[in-house]
């Protein structure tokens, strides 16, 4: 299921379903969840690199949506609110998880050696998938911006509104993120070519009488 399968027509249904959900209409609440579950889950998978964590955080995001429904401003699109909340849920989780890890297992944390302790801990959760592997090389802030631009097709201004940062910050993070990915990809390809040449040389040497 593509994360962006829902078109703008369906999004126009959000205010209607929100109003109905506020009167206790359980079907309307379920509609909201079904309509946006995929996009939130996808965003959190790319942000966290962990399918199980993404599932938990998606549920947390929708719980926060449920709690905030009575105060939700009609001017803010629900999608923007959900992305923002999902991002906050991931950040909250990272902080608490990091703190627990640091307190419980300072030796394994290696916080003294890595420039980004959270990143190093998160890295261990990423599955061996090329895209996830590329994303693992970015900080959560850069991953969030890249994910929202590339996968969710939000504009720079929409991303700025979602993450509540200046447009300039979004642009600089976006540029940095893609530059970094390109460098990593080129480095991986160079490593692959070097490994291939090394294997050919070894094979050739072994084949010599």
């Amino acid at each position: 299921m593509a994360a962006n399968a829902v078109g703008s027509g369906a999004r126009d249904l959000d205010p209607v379903d929100i109003a109905r959900a506020l009167t206790g209409d359980k079907d309307a609440l379920a509609n909201l969840v079904r309509r946006h579950w995929g996009r939130v889950f996808g965003f959190l998978v790319r942000l966290s690199g962990d399918y199980h964590l993404a599932q938990d955080l998606t549920q947390e995001t929708f719980y926060r949506m449920w709690r905030a429904l009575p105060q939700m401003q009609p001017t803010t699109p629900l999608t923007v609110w959900l992305y923002r909340t999902a991002h906050n849920a991931f950040v909250d989780h990272s902080r608490s998880w990091y703190n627990r890890r640091v307190v419980l297992d300072a030796v394994e944390c290696e916080s003294g050696r890595d420039p980004d302790p959270v990143l190093s801990l998160v890295e261990r959760r990423f599955e061996r998938n090329r895209a996830l592997d590329l994303l693992a090389g970015l900080s959560p802030e850069h991953r969030a911006v890249l994910t929202l631009r590339f996968y969710e097709d939000l504009s720079v201004e929409e991303i700025a509104e979602t993450l509540e940062v200046p447009v300039g910050t979004v642009k600089s993070r976006l540029h940095y993120a893609f530059r970094r990915l390109r460098e990593r990809l080129l480095a991986q390809e160079t490593d692959l070519r070097s490994s291939a040449r090394m294997r050919r040389r070894v094979t050739a040497e072994e084949a010599k009488p």
């Binding site: 962006n4 969840v33 790319r46 996830l132 642009k171 540029h175 390109r182």
Partner: protein, 304 residues
């Protein structure tokens, strides 16, 4: 996303990246293609099949604060006013009375009327101006015990919950008094009518209205007595006082009828004691209402 949409998306992202001040005029779209292609591996993220539905079901089970109020606002529901408000109060207070109350009250009144009928048809002489003597004796008893029973929760039990509702304690108390009085008076009226019709005007000791007023005054007085003592002291005190007064009256009837309030010999018609009884009843009820209005302080008194 279709292949064409992917391409459009890539072009749009590449256009954003071309603005990178670190690399003015930066790599072309073709240079970004390997990166975009690699990222496309994560385009499809299939969540577990039941995860979405289980989340929806879980959220649906949570209470949505304010939902019921919004539904009521949508329906345009408003609180009844005036007469309809009084009716609503009385309707709400009927729940306080158990089936046993309705049954016992009806049974006692019925027995009294059957007894009275038997007395009259047997030709037993009754004091003049004392028609339906059994009803005259029994109706006040039913009224007073009924009122004490109705007010059993005042100052205890569910009283705090009742006080916290948008209904005044005076309204609740008066509503319950009205129910007991109206029910007892209704039963007694039906019983009086049945006895009177059964005997016939020629066999009756007096006009029908006189038979009604003979028990109406005492019923009002004893009910008001119980009402006041229940609110001023407690329902148990009210029951004891009411029964005590009633016992005294029965004794007076037997040995010194002239001193009795229940029956006034030689004074047929709606005059004398019944009027005094009704007047005293109204006074006691007003005093009781004042006590009901101070019920919010009684909760504190019991807690001190």
């Amino acid at each position: 996303m279709s292949g064409r949409e992917w391409r459009v998306n890539w072009e749009a992202v590449a256009a954003d990246l071309a603005e990178d001040p670190a690399r003015p005029g930066g790599p072309s779209l073709d240079a970004w293609v390997p990166v975009f292609a690699a990222l496309e591996e994560l385009r499809e993220c299939e969540p577990p099949a039941d995860a979405c539905e289980s989340t929806a079901a879980w959220l649906a089970g949570l209470p949505m604060p304010g939902a019921f109020r919004r539904r009521m606002a949508e329906l345009g529901v408003s609180r009844p006013r005036g007469f309809w408000s009084a009716l609503a109060v009385i309707r709400s207070q009927t729940s306080v009375f158990s089936l046993a109350f309705w049954a016992v009250a009806a049974s006692v009144i019925t027995l009294a009327s059957v007894g009275g009928y038997g007395v009259l048809t047997a030709g037993v002489p009754v004091p003049a101006g004392a028609p339906s003597l059994p009803l005259t004796l029994v109706a006040p008893l039913v009224g007073s015990v009924g009122v004490a029973y109705a007010l059993r929760s005042f100052g205890r039990g569910p009283w705090e919950v009742e006080l916290s509702c948008p209904i005044t304690p005076v309204g609740m108390a008066l509503g319950r008094l009205f129910i007991v009085f109206a029910y007892t008076a209704g039963l007694a009226s039906v019983a009086s009518g049945a006895v009177w019709l059964g005997i016939g005007p020629s066999g009756s000791p007096g006009p029908f209205l006189a038979t009604v007023f003979a028990w109406l005054g005492p019923l009002a007085l004893w009910s008001a007595l119980a009402f006041y003592f229940s609110l001023r002291f407690s329902p148990a005190t009210a029951t004891a006082v009411s029964l005590g007064f009633w016992a005294v009256e029965v004794a007076l009837l037997a040995w010194r009828p002239a001193a009795s309030l229940l029956v006034v010999p030689g004074r047929p018609g709606p005059a004398g004691a019944p009027t005094v009884s009704l007047g005293a009843a109204v006074l006691l009820a007003l005093l009781a209402v004042r006590e009901a209005g101070r019920s919010a302080e009684r909760v504190g008194r019991s807690a001190a």
